[in-house]
Symmetry: D2
Subunit: 355 residues, 4 copies
């Protein structure tokens, strides 16, 4: 584990919990946690049961007794570590966004071609989001017309946060676009397929910040639908609203992370007098991950999609099956982010390059 | 029209509006409005277009040029007026609750036997409530297990209101029971059939008040289901929450006046993975009154069920068909209220007498 | 009244009801209803109490016994009628959007300069929307960051509607933009001030239609905030969702027509542990129109903002005070719609001309 | 750990997770899991990391290398194990309800007097519920008028479940009362203090079942407020709705497990025009357990209150401070359940004996 901040804690929890819920082909051993601050590392290691600590990631990624490297550090550091780990033949797991630029992301994907790899786009594995995907795949929405995504938090409105790494281009690469929009884009690509072209606007409210505080986006998808996206750190009133809605010829889906155990589904093929938006509690046994965690009606929380991501990944390795979200998938997200930057600069529509 | 207070205003509106939305066999003429305060009457008459005013209801109810008498005065005055009007052969409309005691109500029903009569239990004609009735009648809930009703407002917590007629036994007969619970009981009898027996508790929070501020109730219905009711003027936080829920073997219905254009319907016969509570917007053309008022998706408000009540009533007279809620129906409500008082006094279960 | 379709019915209701709720300086007399279809006119006249019918609007607008002309016909007919009525010195009321092009709208505003005039942007007078304006004006949101508007209905997905006037450029001028987006723009200008520049995309899903089925829009407001708008007739699952949200440095407001009696208000200046989105039931006596209609907790419906619009208009004439939304205000909306068309055509950002 | 069913799994998770989130005075070692079915025990032990398995609880509870015994077996077995463990000087943790009768519960409490003891009324430690307690304690609700609790699930409507232990008096003691109502009672005693007297009704819908399928309850609390409770296994449409509402002279609180990260708070002391129910996302740093788990806006799930219960318990032992819910507290719940049974049998009000 490279990194011991908040997201390192979330990943540590996933490593600790995955075997309690998933039948796995491997036993997970928490070997070493690596970072810059020895005191912090010691606390993290003792709390989460990492055998050792280290302050030099270069040592760690080449150790022979290590099979997998998980990267939970600021974006700008992802590529060097991931490439080194991949070159050392390790399984590589990387926090999102994959990189701070498209070029870096492409290099990483190339380097990781021959090792199992994962990017922690955790929201794809919320049971309600997987159910949305199933309903779309089954054709329950018909032809898609509209995709609509919001990712609103209020972190940017807090002046104390201006100096953290997420507000520095040199550390984060992008602002709200990398941090928040990347999640929305990943979900959109998953649920609604590729984006052909887009027109975007990045905006910084606070003078002196060199990353975007907010980003707006209109898009045309390959399937003929059109979309809007908004991601902002100035969504005062919303702590972590990651929401999407899809309108199709046969119905509508709506999800918000504010209520992550539910999915709203409107089935326009129902008789007119009993047609309405259904609030699905996505905790039934036959729902995604319904037999993995607790019981019907028993809510999951923020950490469970991470556990599910890891469980699926380890099983995919065992079965030698493809896994998503992998580095290639994350490059597709990065291509959209790159188009966002280009469009915002040129103030016009730009094409999103296909792979 | 006897009475020119708030509810008289609501009834006046119904008389004015009914012909705009309903095809009627009669033309409604607003002849005379009657009350104690001449100045108030003049304002009301000019505002709502009543031809004349009068301060003596006894004159009014026997006038030959008057076909119908609408009673919108404190409960204790209902019976004298209604009986006189019925004896004069008038169509009688009476605000709920029908009377301040069961005995009075029975006398009124007897007197009105031979004239068309109506009691303004308006909430029965909210489209969402009528749809609930339809779904139950179609068997969509299966066997009913639970009926659950709340009527919460916060009027009692306002000390300025203690002296108004609603807080005096001599004027109102009962407190929350007559004012609020009577609505819940009428809806329950409509939706779930007769109550066999009940155990109730009336409670007064404010010393010196001689009517109930709140009433709680457990009930056994004739259909084998069991019910709870709570009506209170101390439901601080709720302005006018008239809500019910029904659980049956095949599903659930939930309604609240807070959102009167919607009905929640859970269909337990749906496949498990797409089963959820549907929020029906009860404004479709094929919904109750869907062609009477505006368009799908266009909300109705507080006054519309009154207009619908009057429209249906006038048409029932024209067609010589039975109309509900009539005085007999309201006596059934009063029988339950009487049982509530007896049970509260005896601190035990009591039978609700059948007709 | 020129026009006897759905919206003519809504306006007729406002004329009938305005005197019941507002103290007015004038008595409203419903003289003549005018349209093309004599049978339809007769029904409408008898239902709503119009004294006469006429099939030639040119006769009507110049009659000496008529003071006011209300225009409730397809968009393309607005200008000729409005200009003739204004030139005849009549008070002119016109359904929205004011015109089918900016040029027409400007001509109309010029013609109506010297007569009292009104455009029926009714949603501005929903009590919850007026309260939103008050809270913003009082500074309760602080500096505005984001304005976000949706107007989603599903009318376009119904193939039977393709031939009606709303789907013909020759009758309607625009599609979703004129029909739906115009409402969102009016509300935005009211609540958040002028739009400086925008980038928009109009889209038609159904081959053969010559108006937009949907329109997306990113905007920069003069106050430094940024906005997104989406209006569509393909929002399957939404019957009439006219919603907006505003995030500011001190809080957030959210409104949706699905629940028109409520406004969500998040006050970010509250102590952290009891900070949350408040669901305001905008029916209190001291709320906008709180003393005009019913009682606290008693819901208003679709028609009430029309009544309020008319009541305020008639009183503004009596007091010789300015009234909004007038033709000039509606020209400002039309300027934005014009920019939307230009931007969509040029696929780039365009400036919205100031007056 | 005695028991390896669903709830044993939930407790195992708490033992595994508590050290990751809480700073503890002890290291938790998972020694032995005990049950009847060896194969099931082996699976559980390997999944959750229990060192050993055993099929004889009597062996286990006296082992010298064991400090604490956790009881997660059917209700009727609680007392023998708990008493034996307490007599052996062990820390005792017991699943709720404490026992199948009041007499048993009292014996258990007596036996456990001198050892640290805990009953897993987990819902008390949901952050939103703790916040409710804080607001009440601070006087934010003023004088309490109404307490209203629902616990609705639909397990009883599933005929396959009739033969499980929860539907047998000999195994479970009670039905919905012990399983569901006990939670509501514990929360009520915590939030609103002792119940003085009550009138209850137990009902069984399915012939042949000897436990209650549903229980209704009216209550008078020592603080002068009145309450209603409903717990049922026939609440079709509700998977696990554990909800309460409290109305006081100054405000209202509402909670439902359907949305366990939120608490609704209506503050009636706010100015009238901005008064409304606030939806508090109880995930802020200064909320209960706000610094223990993830970050603001990051939802907790079903398992977290169990972890919090265990963390608080272990710390209370370390600090030699009292802990709640202990066996004595659970006896108070059992006294109410006993009164419920007596009242249901006698069809009248009964007093709840004070300790």
């Amino acid at each position: 584990m490279i990194g011991s901040g908040f997201i390192g804690r979330v990943h540590s929890n996933a490593f600790r919990q995955v075997g309690h819920f998933f039948e796995l082909p491997y036993q997970v051993c928490c070997k070493v946690i690596c970072g810059r601050d020895r005191a912090k590392l010691e606390t993290a290691a003792s709390r989460w049961g990492w055998d050792e600590i280290d302050t030099d990631w270069q040592n760690v990624v080449t150790r022979r007794d290590i099979d997998a490297v998980d990267i939970a550090v600021p974006n700008v550091l992802h590529s060097a570590i991931a490439i080194a780990a991949a070159q050392a033949g390790k399984i590589v797991l990387c926090e999102k966004p994959l990189a701070s630029t498209l070029a870096e992301a492409e290099k990483m994907a190339k380097a990781a071609r021959n090792v199992p790899n994962l990017v922690w786009f955790n929201y794809r594995r919320i049971p309600a989001v997987v159910l949305a995907k199933q309903l779309i795949t089954e054709g329950r929405l018909g032809q898609t017309y509209h995709y609509r995504a919001l990712y609103l938090n209020q972190s940017g409105n807090d002046p104390r946060k201006s100096n953290t790494w997420r507000y520095q281009r040199s550390e984060a690469g992008m602002g709200a676009a990398g941090d928040l929009l990347s999640h929305s884009i990943d979900s959109a690509l998953y649920l609604n397929g590729p984006i052909r072209e887009l027109s975007a606007m990045m905006h910084t409210f606070v003078p002196g910040r060199d990353v975007d505080d907010a980003v707006l986006l209109m898009a045309r998808f390959a399937n003929g639908s059109i979309g809007t996206f908004e991601a902002t750190r100035f969504g005062v009133g919303c702590q972590n609203r990651n929401a999407f809605e899809v309108n199709g010829s046969k119905g509508m889906l709506a999800f918000t992370l504010d209520n992550m155990n539910e999915l709203d589904f409107f089935d326009a093929t129902e008789p007119l007098d009993s047609r309405g938006s259904r609030r699905l509690s996505v905790t039934a046994l036959n729902h995604p991950y319904g037999e993995v965690f607790w019981k019907p009606g028993h809510a999951l929380g923020y950490e469970h999609p991470f556990i599910a991501t890891l469980g699926d990944f380890l099983n995919s390795i065992g079965r030698q099956e493809p896994f998503h979200v992998n580095f290639e998938d994350a490059v597709a997200v990065q291509r959209v982010l790159d188009a966002v930057e280009r469009s915002s600069a040129s103030r016009g529509w730009v094409t999103v390059d296909a792979t």
